[in-house]
């Protein structure tokens, strides 16, 4: 049948010739494993269409590398629709690239021009050690949440009715906006101090804003900040870079809220 006759070329190369393809120079951080030194390598790449997503462009590069018998570039990605927070990448000096309000997987090649040089690096922070190439270990974020990012209620099936505590809509919305954080780490990557304050504060705020979470708010904020410090993140100097680069637009207000929460909890 038809698809059995499909050649390699037909499957991997676009047959649409009306669109002018882009030629790019990629400068990509390559690092064999956590212990290796690593460095930037340059790859010329042609045949890129504006409609491709940035990660699809990397797919094309990897296909070429595999065909040549070289090792493909390893990068983190999963849902490719901007919600799972897996993809990272510092693209031309900015986390998730030049566009605002999106993750790397939502970045499309129309943001670039034919002939562009694109530098692609892993997110950099002491608390985000490189695992391989562009993949970093963000489990420091998980440990911060494990330290206290929860409300201590058991699953029983006898929890009080969901509507028994009315919550003002504004407050519920504010909690929701804090909770939209996808934990991608762009805030840390963008911050000149590699601070995790935006992330931690979003998690603290989400629960502090709800009556259900208020009960153990003090314990939570103290534990989470302590863990955040332990992980080796830098200190917030309020540059605001995190808020600008955050794909979900998490507000600095959350940091201020955490500052308040923490102060209140620590003087008690």
């Amino acid at each position: 049948m038809r698809q059995f006759e499909l050649t390699h070329h037909q499957i991997f190369k676009s047959s649409n010739l009306q669109i002018k393809d882009m030629n790019l120079t990629l400068k990509i951080w390559r690092q064999k494993d956590a212990a290796s030194k690593g460095g930037i390598q340059t790859y010329p790449l042609g045949g890129i269409e504006a409609d491709m997503s940035f990660l699809e462009m990397l797919d094309v590069l990897n296909q070429e590398l595999i065909d040549k018998g070289e090792e493909p570039v390893v990068f983190d990605h999963d849902c490719r629709e901007g919600i799972c927070g897996t993809c990272s990448l510092q693209i031309n000096g900015e986390p998730h690239g030049p566009d605002r309000g999106i993750t790397t997987c939502q970045l499309h090649m129309r943001a670039f021009k034919d002939g562009d040089t694109i530098t692609i690096e892993p997110f950099r922070a002491k608390a985000f050690p490189v695992i391989k190439d562009l993949v970093v270990d963000r489990t420091s974020f998980e440990r911060i949440q494990q330290a206290g990012g929860y409300i201590s209620v058991n699953t029983s099936g006898n929890t009080q009715d969901a509507n028994s505590i009315p919550i003002p809509k504004d407050q519920a919305d504010a909690a929701f906006y804090a909770a939209t954080c996808i934990g991608c780490g762009a805030c840390v990557a963008a911050c000149k101090n590699a601070s995790a304050m935006l992330f931690t504060s979003a998690k603290v705020s989400q629960m502090a804003l709800l009556p259900q979470g208020e009960v153990e708010a003090d314990r939570r904020v103290l534990a989470m900040v302590e863990q955040m410090d332990k992980e080796g993140f830098g200190n917030c100097t309020n540059t605001g870079a995190c808020e600008i680069e955050c794909p979900k637009g998490i507000s600095l207000e959350n940091i201020a809220r955490m500052n308040r929460e923490y102060m209140r909890a620590s003087v008690k």
Binding site: L222, V225, M263, V267
Partner: protein, 266 residues
């Protein structure tokens, strides 16, 4: 945990930074109010300023305040250094390509540099005046001093001068009869020095620009660090901060130039 949290945690460091910083903003207002008296001319200017200086150095409340101010500066500096060192450690391996200008303001990223300039300035400033007042010798009369006395006698009617000890000049006898150094004259002389006056003024100007940028970020940042952030009032705080960062250093900076170019020579 709570106790050590208020000293050791990263957030506590920010509280202290903000708290001392905002206190120093208050100090700047007070200091500026005093300094603006230097813009006055005429007979009462020297008296007024020196009485003010005396009050500032002798009033016990003010003395405590000045100790707090010094402590604040010290704390602000040390805290700043610790934070900067920690922050350097938080990213041991930097980016090949990093474009922070796309997401943050220059001043916010260079508080350390600006702070260092300001610290250097504070040292110079203290040597110039506070050191002079505290440790400077009760000067013996030399050529320039004679000149100064001369000018002073011509320019400002100071009765006490004639009665003064021949070996010391720039002494101001207060209303209560005590003798103190004449800060007014020291100040005016510094900025009217034909060789150095303008250079001092320019150094002060540079320092005030640094303070301006430091305040431009620091004022609002202090509020944010203390958790004072509310969409309703943020614009107000930001505007006050910008106004403060422009007006206060500008007025400070005007004074040396005014003394050099406008004020009657002494």
């Amino acid at each position: 945990m709570a106790k050590s949290a208020l000293l050791k945690s990263s957030l506590a460091k920010k509280y202290w930074m903000a708290f001392t910083g905002l206190f120093l903003c208050l100090f700047l207002v007070g200091h500026l109010a005093g300094n603006l008296q230097l813009l006055a001319s005429g007979e009462g200017a020297r008296d007024q300023f020196n009485e003010y200086a005396l009050f500032m150095t002798s009033n016990p409340a003010v003395r405590i305040l000045s100790i707090v101010t010094f402590a604040s500066i010290l704390f602000h500096v040390i805290d700043g250094i610790i934070i900067t060192i920690n922050n350097r450690k938080a990213r041991p391996k930097g980016y090949v390509s990093f474009k922070p200008s796309t997401n943050s303001k220059w001043s916010s990223r260079n508080m350390g540099v600006l702070g260092t300039i300001i610290l250097a300035f504070i040292v110079i400033h203290l040597i110039n005046f506070w050191g002079e007042m505290k440790f400077g010798e009760w000067e013996t009369r030399d050529e320039s001093n004679i000149e100064a006395v001369h000018v002073m006698e011509n320019g400002v009617a100071v009765v006490e001068m004639e009665e003064q000890d021949q070996t010391s000049n720039l002494i101001y006898t207060t209303e209560s009869g005590a003798e103190v150094k004449d800060l007014y004259t020291i100040t005016i002389k510094t900025f009217q020095d034909p060789e150095w006056g303008l250079i001092w003024a320019i150094i002060y100007l540079i320092a005030m620009i640094a303070i301006g940028f430091h305040l431009y970020h620091g004022f609002g940042s202090g509020f944010q660090s203390l958790g004072i952030n509310h969409p309703k009032y943020n614009t107000f705080v930001r505007r006050v901060g910008v106004g403060f960062a422009i007006i206060v250093p500008l007025l400070f900076a005007i004074i040396p130039f005014y003394i050099y170019f406008v004020l009657d020579k002494i």
